[in-house]
């Protein structure tokens, strides 16, 4: 049986919400999520979806993503260092074993790690609860072993889910999910246990969408990042907003794009008095500590609270 509504959150009008202020009285929380991914050369085929657009091995797709890890990632890291911006890495956990040099470079910069599944070529479709638990436990354990860091965020591999995904990550004491795109502010998710925050991560300004799906030019991407930022900063005056730039080095770090992309970071960094440049986990922690209860109360008062939890409607 399928559901027409996932019931993972309640309707909450954007207008008139309680005022959020980020640490230091900042109006906008800004974070960058470099996706550091590993795509397998010859992954098993999931009956719901092929791993590659062309039959395995898809040399063009595979080698472009490998270029991202060999070349592009280091270029992006240099650029973020220049502006004092730490990354929150959306990590294919398998990469820890394949490319430990990348992990070490991220540790040295005090970047955050969160799980993006084991490989971006292993989809969640059809997994039972035990299998999904195994992925989460592997993620927590592998990052802890490699970095000493306890992961707090989850972005499902290739944005593939089951009806259990959000409940399971909440049960494993994750603080935030990047899988939902319904809002520009964090908010509570209706999971069976825990306090799981829906974190604005944004597909619309994600380089995969702008470059690979929409086909926009480097100049246009920079232009929209600046406009996106300016608007969210303006609205942050009313109640704190979140802006995330999700990136993929195999796209944004291409030699014809990186310098033009830098203009966007320069524009954002120029507003450092008003913005909190931070990580996903820090935003989630602040929201859970200071705004969770108030948000739940406001949703009940001005929104439409329907009860139940994800995929289990009240009634």
């Amino acid at each position: 049986m399928t559901h027409s509504d996932p019931n993972l959150y309640d309707y909450w009008p954007y207008e008139g919400r309680p005022k959020i202020r980020w640490p230091g009285n900042k109006k906008l929380a800004f974070w960058i999520a470099p996706n550091i991914e590993y795509y397998e050369f010859d992954p098993p085929v999931n009956p719901s979806r092929s791993p590659w657009p062309r039959p395995n091995p898809d040399i063009a797709g595979y080698s472009q993503r490998d270029w991202g890890n060999r070349i592009g990632h280091w270029r992006l890291m240099d650029l973020m260092d220049k502006y004092g911006m730490r990354g929150s890495i959306s990590l294919s956990i398998g990469l820890i074993d394949h490319h430990p040099e990348i992990i070490e470079a991220c540790i040295a910069r005090n970047w955050e790690f969160f799980s993006h599944g084991i490989y971006n070529t292993r989809y969640s479709y059809g997994m039972d609860e035990a299998q999904e638990r195994a992925v989460l436990e592997d993620s927590i354990r592998s990052v802890e072993q490699a970095t000493g860091q306890r992961i707090r965020g989850y972005l499902a591999p290739a944005l593939t889910h089951t009806e259990n995904t959000l409940d399971l990550i909440a049960e494993h004491d994750f603080w935030y999910s990047c899988d939902l795109f319904q809002d520009d502010q964090p908010q509570p998710l209706k999971t069976k246990t825990g306090k799981l925050v829906s974190m604005p991560y944004s597909l619309e300004v994600n380089d995969v969408i702008t470059y690979s799906v929409q086909g926009w030019s480097p100049q246009r991407y920079t232009d929209l990042l600046k406009r996106h930022f300016d608007q969210l900063l303006k609205e942050g005056e009313e109640s704190g907003t979140v802006m995330c730039i999700p990136l993929h080095a195999y796209l944004v770090s291409q030699p014809h794009r990186i310098r033009i992309f830098e203009e966007a970071l320069k524009h954002i960094a120029a507003h450092s008095d008003d913005i909190w440049i931070t990580t996903g986990a820090e935003i989630a922690d602040h929201f859970r500590t200071h705004y969770w209860d108030e948000s739940v109360k406001d949703i009940a008062a001005r929104g439409v609270a329907t009860g139940g939890t994800g995929f289990a409607p009240a009634r």
Binding site: T2, H3, S4, D5, P6, L8, Y11, W12, P13, Y14, E15, S48, R49, Y125, L159, T160, H161, T162, E163, D179, L180, F181, Q182, D183, D184, L203, E204, V205, Q214, G215, W216, R220, L224, L225, R227, H228, D230, Q231, L232, E235, R302, G303, V304, F311
Partner: protein, 303 residues
């Protein structure tokens, strides 16, 4: 194998249209309309408020914007829902800053689920139009008359005061105009045959069709065709300037365009949206209003 014999038989091959909903009338063979307000052209803004279920049917076709990846496609569900939670409030704010009213075409499912949003739109003085049950309920010729009448009745029950109708995906069966007129709707935004309100014959009386231009759709320009925010804004303003400029020869004309909350309501599009709305509001000779007001203004002029 050759085609059957009827393939070379043309029963409607005669002067005028091949359907009898309305008559053929070229732009240069009719008296120009002069509006009592003195406006040279009118524009209307259609804002669809749509519910995209996580498990959409594939028949007769998937609604544009419906789920793409295997169930549960939380990605597309939540990016669409963004429009109803966040994007629509940006549109309301910019409309109000420009002093304009729009026509919100609301699915019955949205009206039932998101009451605070509907109240907010009513309080802003905008028009509420009916947009079928949901994106999962497309009107098409494969439905029986009873099935389609039930869809119209369900929509009517959720939106008892609406006078304007837009079908989900603007798709109809051969009987849709009769059924929506029968349910008390007098204006329809599905057909865009003319540049002024077009009276349509139905079994239940006259239905007025207003031209909601697909070529100006934000979904088409910004999403399907990937054009820039500025290119989109320029085209809307150009359409307005052109309809105004034709007034000496063609008289008053009108046109409509859509603002889709999950597309135009994104932060990086608000600057272009503000340019469109303030540009239209300030345009000499142009009056921007809701579908019902546009239809009434042209009806009054032709009496």
């Amino acid at each position: 194998m050759p085609q059957p014999a009827e393939f070379l038989v043309y029963p409607h091959r005669a002067y005028g249209m091949d359907q009898d909903r309305y008559d053929w009338q070229p732009a240069d063979r009719r008296p120009p309309v002069q509006l009592k307000s003195g406006a040279k052209a009118m524009a209307f803004i259609t804002i669809p408020l749509e519910f995209f279920p996580l498990d959409p049917p594939a028949k007769p076709f998937k609604h544009p914007g419906a789920m793409v990846t295997p169930y549960p496609d939380l990605r597309h569900y939540t990016t669409r829902d963004y429009g109803n939670r966040v994007g629509v409030f940006r549109l309301l704010k910019e409309l109000e800053a420009a002093g304009l009213k729009a026509t919100f075409a609301v699915n019955a499912e949205i009206a039932r689920r998101y009451a605070p949003l509907i109240e907010r739109i009513r309080a802003g003085g905008h028009e509420i139009a009916a947009h079928g049950v949901s994106t999962a309920h497309i009107h098409h010729a494969g439905l029986s008359e009873e099935e389609e009448r039930a869809l119209v009745a369900e929509t009517r029950a959720a939106l008892p005061d609406a006078v304007t109708w837009m079908s989900p995906a603007r798709n109809e069966s051969f009987k849709t105009p009769d059924l929506v007129r029968e349910a008390g709707f007098s204006i329809c935004l599905d057909w865009e045959s003319d540049q002024r309100p077009l009276p349509m014959r139905t079994s239940a009386g006259e239905l007025t069709c207003l031209p909601n231009h697909y070529e100006l759709s934000d979904f088409l320009i910004l999403s399907t065709r990937s054009q820039s925010e500025d290119e989109w804004a320029d085209q809307i303003l150009e359409a307005a300037a052109q309809t105004v400029a034709e007034h000496p020869e063609r008289g008053a004309q009108c046109f409509g365009f859509t603002l889709t909350p999950y597309i135009t309501g994104l932060p990086f599009r608000i600057e272009a949206l503000a340019r469109v709305l303030t540009g239209l509001a300030a345009m000499e000779g142009l009056q921007v209003s809701t579908a019902a007001v546009v239809a009434a203004a042209f009806a009054e002029a032709s009496q």
